[in-house]
């Protein structure tokens, strides 16, 4: 009898690997530099382990792709608060990877009490990587009017200007303070959990595997969970000093930074401390009347749509995903930056006897089970499946390393690729190209009320255009 377990990458990887080493599973290659996400166990030959982004694990276990999983309780609650009938069983607190999920505000301003929040009649903006928990909390606090902005990350950069509140997770409440935030309400104390699919738990004999872990607990004294690097207190951001003429710009973190710095240099725009070695998300600039935040490119279209930023450097892929979901959004592409060119492709396993979407559609038509489309670009993937009549399909949202989903956990991927090498390495093939994507500068179609601001925006766009065209 095969037993499948989903194991975490990222912050829980090392402590989980230590636990499983003590449980003598004999997992080869479960470490930070791993290249193969599929692992076998010497002790349990029938055990198949696969490594996922922690956030994907509750979904994978709930849908029955995996019998067992290890991930933070925060992500389990994020799923089950929205989908209470999810087939998940929380088996055991593993006692490491502790954290606290709390609603927080900027510590530079008096933090609102929950009573004040309840009485507030204006819109309260909450940004979070936990949009379901954020909605649950807002309803529970009886907020009259609120908007939840789902985030891919960098929540600490938002208050107070881009969102009044953020729902964030930090290892301790002290670290919330250290990041320039102040906790308004603690929602959840969490740590790593062993979870199971409900049907597997009721029907399969998982006792040996679960027992081998159980025998190693508690072991918190032995393994100190490696805390996320503490952000020093002086890094607490000072709120922007802005007026109606100020232009607010969002620059990307992550691998897009290199292209962006090159472009800014060419345009003669100086941005200090970007990319930042110590994680500073508010770099300075010599441009007059301009303030800058560094956030995830995925989150930018929604932020620009809501007027939190006037200009943002993101990718055409993320703009398309946003506009697919919200066609009436005021966000628009102002300039193609012609950098970071990737192709958005449809990918299947090399074993699938289809080389284009038409033959795939014929295969799907004969299938009696739902066709699973996995993607980080949920809206693009949904539209692609719909437009191509892929029958009874399901879109499985993923949070990275999507290639590892095929063929067991998904049937089709919608992915971006630069060279196609990663796809080939995972024994996959491209059957369709949806579009090409490059970096782009986005802004709002809504007119600004300030002429000065309008001129500043035009000047910046002009400088960037000259830099792009001068290439």
């Amino acid at each position: 009898m095969t037993v499948k377990i989903a194991l975490p990458k990222g912050r829980l990887l090392e402590t989980t690997a230590t636990l499983l080493r003590k449980a003598e599973w004999g997992l080869e290659g479960y470490n930070q530099s791993m290249r193969n996400y599929r692992l076998g166990s010497r002790r349990f030959p029938d055990l198949q382990a696969k490594v996922f982004n922690e956030r994907d694990i509750p979904v994978q276990v709930a849908v029955g792709n995996y019998d067992l999983g290890i991930c933070g309780l925060d992500w389990v609650e994020e799923l089950s608060i929205k989908f209470p009938s999810s087939a998940l069983v929380k088996l055991r607190n593993l006692g490491y990877g502790e954290g606290v999920v709390c609603l927080a505000a900027s510590h530079h301003q008096p933090a609102p009490t929950t009573e004040e929040l309840k009485e507030e009649t204006e819109l309260i903006r909450i940004a979070s990587e936990y949009p379901n928990l954020a909605e649950y909390l807002a309803l529970g606090l009886r907020l009259r009017r609120f908007s939840v902005f789902p985030l891919w990350g960098a929540a600490e950069a938002y208050p107070p200007e881009s969102a009044a509140l953020v729902l964030v997770s930090y290892p301790t409440e002290q670290e919330v303070l250290a990041s320039g935030l102040v906790s308004v309400n603690v929602l959840l104390n969490h740590s790593a959990f062993l979870i199971a699919n409900k049907n597997s738990w009721e029907q399969k004999d998982l006792s040996e595997i679960v027992g081998s872990i159980e025998g190693q607990l508690p072991f918190t004294a032995e393994i100190q969970s490696k805390k996320a690097a503490t952000i020093s207190a002086e890094k607490g951001y000072h709120p922007w000093q802005t007026d109606e003429d100020t232009v607010r710009i969002a620059l990307p973190d992550g691998h897009q930074q290199t292209h962006t710095v090159t472009l800014l240099n060419k345009a003669g725009i100086r941005v200090e401390d970007y990319p930042s070695e110590n994680g500073n998300r508010r770099p300075g600039t010599d441009l007059k009347g301009v303030v800058i935040k560094v956030i995830r490119p995925q989150d930018m279209p929604l932020q620009v749509a809501n007027g939190n930023f006037d200009l943002a450097v993101t990718g055409h892929d993320w703009l398309t995903d946003h506009l697919t979901m919200f066609p009436s959004s005021p966000v628009t592409e102002l300039l193609d930056l012609k950098s970071g060119r990737v192709k958005m492709v449809a990918v299947v396993s090399r074993e699938v006897p289809a080389d284009d979407i038409y033959s795939l559609r014929q295969l799907v038509a004969k299938q009696t089970t739902p066709f699973r489309v996995a993607s980080e670009y949920v809206n693009i993937a949904d539209k692609y499946a719909r437009d191509n009549h892929l029958g009874m399909y399901k879109v499985v949202p993923t949070w990275g390393a999507t290639e590892a989903f095929l063929p067991e956990d998904a049937d089709l991927l919608i992915e971006n690729t630069e060279t196609g090498r990663t796809i080939a390495r995972h024994n996959l093939k491209i059957i369709d190209t949806l579009f090409e994507s490059t970096g782009c500068l986005i802004g709002s179609r809504n007119e600004t009320s300030s002429l000065v601001k309008q001129e500043r925006i035009e000047s910046i766009v002009g400088k960037l255009r000259a830099a792009v065209e001068g290439e």
Partner: protein
């Protein structure tokens, strides 16, 4: 691939729709004659309409179908209407400027997520709202309207349970709870947890003991409430306004010979209730409920306007309507057969079918596969005189007729219409 109904939804079959329309018809008729006018609000509303304190309980809010629609880039969520009264109040604030009397009714669906999917998540209601009247007469009008409709639906044994939101709130204050705890316990009572008071009594036995006369018995007369008033007059004067209002309503119900049961803990309903709360049960099922909600419209940004309302629950009612109530609801059915199937006889068949429908009969052309159990008459159309042969399916007797009028006379109609 099997086609499937969405989990937690139901189809209303033709038999159920017959009952649905019967209930709806009687409800509409009673409301229209009582001076109420029909309103229909959209299925989609903004979530924030339902979130502030005093609208929906967190228990209900946790089961709302909310999502971001195509305009959702602002993060503003929309919901499938989880409640019918709040949208009506919203529409009233939108359209009525002078705070005058407005009597409205609606037949609508509401959507509440039910975890197991075994119970339906789309529920149908017939509701009436009386906005701009704060008198006990208005409360009694709604209760009697609901009772009258149930009587017309053929329900003989309808139980009326009365409670009072003002009294429940005053009671909770006595248990020494913080305002937040009071709100939470009130929500639990409204969500149908009738054991809440017992738990409170266990927690603070001395208060529980003192209040036992108010909580334990289930009174059946205004005398019961007067006794309570006398008992608590000195110690708990804060109960008095709510008790007085309750007594006035019950006095009026008694004067009109209605029987009822007073059960303070049965306050199941909505957080927006401020005064009388009533529930109607038939066949041990809750089939209607309502109450006074004076604070709702001001809370939503409207004027200080008193209001009250009730809703009949169509889903249990459809199951309870007896077959005999349906008698006479459907017209007698005539099956028309065009003997030789020539264009002339078929044309004649359609012509007489139209004539019979106009005169109040159900007339169907024979398509060869109709079930005939509910057919009262068979009419054969021939291409020679006499054109029509009528067969009475109950007696198997045949009658001949030359004209449509003669056919009608044979069926028992007068042919004048």
């Amino acid at each position: 691939m099997r086609v499937q109904r969405c989990k937690g939804t139901r189809d209303l079959s033709p038999d159920e729709m017959t009952k649905f329309r019967l209930i709806e018809g009687i409800f509409r008729d009673c409301c229209l004659k009582g001076g109420y006018r029909e309103i229909r609000t959209p299925t989609l509303e903004y979530l924030h309409l339902f979130t502030s304190t005093g609208t929906l309980t967190p228990g209900t809010l946790g089961k709302v179908y909310s999502f971001l629609d195509w305009d959702g880039w602002s993060g503003e969520r929309v919901v499938l209407r989880p409640d019918a009264t709040i949208p009506v109040a919203r529409s009233y604030i939108d359209t009525v400027q002078d705070g005058g009397l407005t009597k409205l009714f609606y037949v609508t669906n509401i959507f509440i997520f039910e975890e197991t999917g075994k119970e339906t998540r789309e529920r149908w209601q017939c509701g009436a709202e009386l906005i701009g009247a704060g008198s006990t007469t208005a409360d009694v009008e709604l209760i009697t309207l609901a009772l009258d409709i149930l009587k017309k639906l053929g329900f003989r044994k309808v139980e009326l349970q009365l409670s009072h939101a003002g009294l429940i709130r005053a009671l909770l204050a006595e248990f020494g709870l913080t305002s937040q705890e009071q709100a939470s316990v009130f929500d639990q009572i409204l969500d149908g947890d009738e054991a809440v008071f017992n738990r409170l009594k266990a927690k603070t036995p001395e208060v529980g003991e003192a209040l036992a006369p108010l909580l334990d018995p289930k009174g059946q007369s205004a005398g019961f409430l007067r006794n309570l008033k006398a008992l608590f007059r000195r110690d708990l004067p804060e109960f008095e306004p709510a008790l007085d209002n309750f007594i006035d309503i019950v006095d009026l119900m008694e004067a009109m010979d209605y029987s009822y049961q007073i059960d303070i803990g049965s306050g199941r309903g909505f957080e927006y209730y401020t005064g009388i709360i009533f529930q109607l049960s038939a066949g041990r099922q809750r089939v209607a409920a309502g109450g006074r909600y004076d604070a709702l419209i001001p809370l939503m940004g409207g004027q200080e306007v008193p209001a009250s309302g009730f809703a009949l629950y169509l889903d249990p009612l459809m199951g309870l309507v007896k077959p005999e109530t349906l008698d006479g609801q459907l017209p007698e059915k005539v099956l028309i057969r065009a003997g030789d199937s020539t264009p002339e006889t078929i044309r004649e068949g359609f012509r007489i079918a139209a004539y019979l429908r106009e005169t109040g009969y159900g007339a169907e052309m024979d398509l060869g596969t109709q079930p005939t159990e509910d057919v009262r008459w068979i009419l054969d159309v021939k291409n020679e005189a006499p054109r029509f042969v009528v067969t009475d399916t109950t007696t198997k007797k045949e009658f001949k007729a030359r004209t449509a009028k003669e056919v009608l006379a044979l069926l028992g109609g007068n042919g004048d219409s």
